[in-house]
Subunit: 338 residues, 2 copies
Amino acid sequence: MDDCRLILLGFGAVGKGVARGISLKKEMINEKYGINLKIVAAADSSTSAICQDGLDEELLLKTKEESGKLLSYPEYGSDISGIDVLDAVDYDVLIEASPTNIEDAEPAKSFTLKAFADGKDVVTSNKGHLALFYKELIEAKEKAGVDFKFEASVGGAMPIINLCQETLASCGISSIKGILNGTTNYILSRMTTEGMSYENTLAEAQQLGIAETNPTQDVEGIDAACKVVILANSVLGIDATYDDVEVRGISDVSLDAINLAKEEGYFVKLIGEVSEKQLKVSPRLVKKNSPFAIDGTLNLANVTTDLADDITVMGKGAGSLETASAMLTDLINIIKDK
Amino acid sequence: MDDCRLILLGFGAVGKGVARGISLKKEMINEKYGINLKIVAAADSSTSAICQDGLDEELLLKTKEESGKLLSYPEYGSDISGIDVLDAVDYDVLIEASPTNIEDAEPAKSFTLKAFADGKDVVTSNKGHLALFYKELIEAKEKAGVDFKFEASVGGAMPIINLCQETLASCGISSIKGILNGTTNYILSRMTTEGMSYENTLAEAQQLGIAETNPTQDVEGIDAACKVVILANSVLGIDATYDDVEVRGISDVSLDAINLAKEEGYFVKLIGEVSEKQLKVSPRLVKKNSPFAIDGTLNLANVTTDLADDITVMGKGAGSLETASAMLTDLINIIKDK
């Protein structure tokens, strides 16, 4: 049985989900694929825990929960952080789960390029570096001859990139239309069903932890636009970057507009659209009986293909363990091919 | 560039779709995977066309269309048929597209076991041998050390088996609930929206070619039950066969029952359910706003997982090219791993 040594960079909601997911699934992965997963380093924003023999996933979670810092991990806590962790220990795959940064894509971009340069495979949940520097990343990955997988970057647990690339491998894909942001779908759904104003619904979503304190990335469509760029590049082969997307969010969608649409049998949804003709995020009317009429924080994608006609998929677009599940699937698909 | 030599057994709607799909996609497959697909034999129920250098897909389609028999294929038409075709020519992968037979699973079972015994990979769209003899087939496949893929047997173009096994590889799957038969979904949808009786709607579906002249397999739930068995075995790892499924079809669903459900905000749908607890096909009420409320001939499956929560997928459950697309994806996933 072979070891697969992992470095986990980022220990927020997604990173914690990965630790929990590995704790839950390492036995299954061992039995099914003959691979022994070992987290040899895990890092939060300023500290880490590093041990060549492998860290205990549950102890990582407990340490972070209790002290807020991985530095407190018994015996192996360290003040090494960031990119230096990648030099501190031997590893096979980088699990990159740092927060998305849509300004300069750091630190995800540096982490990823460094791993490629060192000949390591990377699994990421990050949208920033993919949305801003897709081409550069893929060129570096190909030069290095490594694997690079990023299912979790679009739609959380909802499979879409692997679905298109592998599960629909025979099909040409001409467009994808989807609800790619759960926070805005929650807000629009609640405005529709409860007749609440945008401001009050946003406040409610913030209280529930569905919207962030600074909700800009979600409500202004930035998050969805990143996903549009990633799908354009990875599925449709369009050489696009963030600036190519026409973006309008939901902050100016009025309750009046929602009510008027509702009277005519329509809902207002924030739709991301990916095709050769356009890359766009905007509030759109969807028919009340269409698959797009999903409520709550669900994500949905409708894929138009040549051979298989339309395929629609939906699932949880966020969530700690849910997003981690997509990263673990990517990891399994990397190791089973070795 | 390597050749991949195919034998195509069965030249009805699915077999024709495969020939058309290969004609459309062989260049893409060649460019992307470096594999040259060649149909070296194609057989209908009593004749065939056989040529070690490869047959022309469009000429196969034209021959069948014009004469009804592949025997008329210029120069290479033959009266060899059935299992003998597998001995008549060298090949790499059997594409098994014969009609489903739920009595004794022939000829699909013999075709498939013969190919395994000869060390060949098999892609099938057939439900009969999988629903009746799953365990025997998998044991024979494993003994032979070959690939065996059957995405097209459940849900046509809708990805479900590969979706669960590969795209959700990290997840444990505890149940699948789905609309697994397009014909019955069409009939129930039309009864609901048009207020037509079962008998009249069935007659309409037969006129449109959506229901067969003998509609028993669809309307009595037999087709959906086969799919339940295949999912139970392949996704949930339950050792089940057709007799383990509790089956009730839609032929006794009255318009009154549908109207009553509708008044209360529900639709009647034929639901297949797969879990450790039960394997069942029966008419069930679904909420009018739920994803299950899809109209027409669409198929849908809701997969309950441990890590990713619920994932739902929908797509065309039938159609010549649509079903063939699933077989071509299986074929690509076999050849790209060689």
